[in-house]
Symmetry: C2
Subunit: 258 residues, 2 copies
C-alpha cells in the first residue's frame, strides 16, 4: 500500500509518475502534460518576472528572461509553451499576463496551508525564513515534542505537540507539510501528516519516506548536496588511485575515447 517515492531535490526525474494532464471529457483546450523539470523552472521564471515588473518592464523577450534565469531561450520558450500561448511574436511576453498565468498554473492563487514539524535547529530557521512568507507560503502550524518548545510562540505561531498533528492538519486543511525532525522520527511524523490529510511533503530529514501513492514527497538533503560537490572537487583534483585518471589535473572535458 505504501511505496517509497521521494522525487528528491538533487535527483533527476525519479521513478515518480510525473505530472500529467487530466482527462478532458469536454474536449476543451488541453495543453500537453507539464514535465516536472519544467515546473521547477516556472517558479524561477515567476520570481524573475517580479523583478522585471518592478523595473517597469511591460514585456520581456524569451532571450531576456532566459539569460536572467540561467537557461537558454529555446528551453524557456518550450517551458512556457506548456501553458499555452501567452507571447506575441515579434515582441515577447507581456509581463503582467505571464505572471498571472504562472501563478495560476503553480497553484499560487489558492492559498496553501503549510505545517512545519520539528522546530529545532533547522526548523526554527525555516520558520523565520522570509522566502516563504514573502509572496509565498506562510507557515501556519508548527509542531515539536520538546517541552521547551511546545506552547511557545515563533513568528506569531504557537508550537503544538506532535501528537496533535493529525487533528490540527485536518482542521486547518493543511496541504503541505515540512519535516525538519531528526531522522529517527521522520517516518512517524510523516505518517501523522498523511493521516491528517496532507498531500505534499517537503522532507529535510536524511531518510527515504514511505508514503501512499497519492502523496508527493520532495527531499532536500543537505549532506547529499555537499557530497555531490565534494565529488566534483575530487574529480578536478584527480582522484587517481585505481579509478583511472593518473595525471594530476583533469579539466572538465571528455578525454576517454572508445
Amino acid at each position: 500500500m505504501t511505496r517509497a517515492s521521494e522525487s528528491g531535490a538533487g535527483d533527476a526525474a525519479s521513478g515518480s509518475p510525473g505530472v500529467v494532464a487530466a482527462a478532458d471529457p469536454a474536449g476543451v483546450r488541453l495543453p500537453r502534460p507539464i514535465p516536472d523539470a519544467t515546473v521547477s523552472r516556472l517558479a524561477v521564471y515567476l520570481r524573475l518576472l517580479g523583478q522585471f515588473a518592478e523595473q517597469g518592464a511591460a514585456t520581456v523577450s524569451s532571450e531576456e528572461l532566459a539569460t536572467a534565469s540561467g537557461v537558454n531561450s529555446a528551453k524557456l520558450r518550450k517551458d512556457l509553451s506548456y501553458l499555452g500561448s501567452y507571447g506575441t511574436r515579434g515582441v515577447g511576453y507581456e509581463v503582467g499576463a505571464l505572471q498571472h498565468q504562472l501563478e495560476r498554473v503553480l497553484g499560487l492563487d489558492h492559498r496553501q496551508s503549510v505545517a512545519l514539524v520539528g522546530v529545532g535547529n533547522l526548523g526554527h530557521a525555516l520558520a523565520g525564513y522570509a522566502g516563504f512568507g514573502g509572496r509565498g507560503f506562510p507557515i501556519d502550524a508548527m509542531f515539536d515534542v520538546s517541552p521547551d518548545l511546545v506552547g511557545s510562540t515563533i513568528n506569531g505561531i504557537e508550537v503544538g505537540h506532535v501528537r496533535d498533528i493529525e487533528t490540527v492538519c485536518r482542521a486547518r486543511g493543511v496541504t503541505i507539510g515540512m519535516v525538519a525532525t531528526p531522522a529517527p522520527v521522520a517516518q512517524d511524523v510523516c505518517d501523522l501528516l498523511v493521516a491528517g490529510g496532507v498531500e505534499s511533503i517537503l522532507n529535510f530529514a536524511p531518510v527515504v519516506l514511505q508514503v501512499p501513492d497519492e502523496v508527493e514527497v520532495r527531499k532536500v538533503d543537505l549532506a547529499v548536496e555537499l557530497q555531490v560537490l565534494a565529488f566534483h572537487v575530487a574529480r578536478r583534483h584527480g582522484v587517481a588511485g585505481t579509478l583511472g585518471s593518473t595525471n594530476g589535473t583533469v579539466n572538465g572535458s571528455v578525454v576517454s575515447p572508445s
Copy 2:
C-alpha cells in the same frame, strides 16, 4: 568569461557538462564516466550502507539496498557498476568494502574544507546542523557583515567579516562554499569565494549565480520546492479553468490518451 551555471537541486541534469572519466595514459582500469544523476544516489547508498553496517550485516543484495534507498534494483546495480565490480554474483555486496569504495569515489577520504557565508536565520541553522559534522563536512569558516555576529563564536568557529573571505579561504584551502545570505548580496559573496579559490558552491539564495566555468554551483531553493509541491496539490484538486482537467479529483495516473 563568466557563465551562469546552477545545476540546481530541484533540477534535472541541466546544461552542465556532466562528469567524465579522465584520460588513461597507462591503460589502467578505466570505469566509464559517472553520470551526475548517479552521483547523488551514491551518497544515499552510502548512508544506508552505514545503517546496514550498524546492524551487523556483512553483505547486502542489490534488492535490499535498492528498496531501502527507494530505487529499483536494476538502477542500483547500474549505479554501482560505474565504480567497478565490488559485488559477488549469487551473494551480493560486501558492506564494508562498498562503503570504503563509495567514500573514495565521492571524495570523502580527502577532508573537505567548508566555508559558510551568512550566519543569519538559515545560516545559523546550517552551522549547527549535525548532518554536516556527523561523518561529513565540518564547517570551518564562517562569515557575515553584521557587527552583532562578526567576532562571535558559533559551534566553536569564530565568525569573520565578509571582507576577509578571499584571504581566509585561500589560506585554509576552502573547497566548498555555502551561500546563505540575502539575495541582493549573494552574487558579491559568490565572487569573493571564487576569488578565494573556492571551486564548489552550494547556494541557498534565490538568485542565479554567475560563475566561471570551472566552478560548480548547486542551488537549494526552498521557495521553489514549495511551489513545485503547490503545483501538485493544485493539480490534484483540479486547477480546471482554461487548463483542461474539468473533473474534480484527479489521481496521479496518466489519463490523457493519444
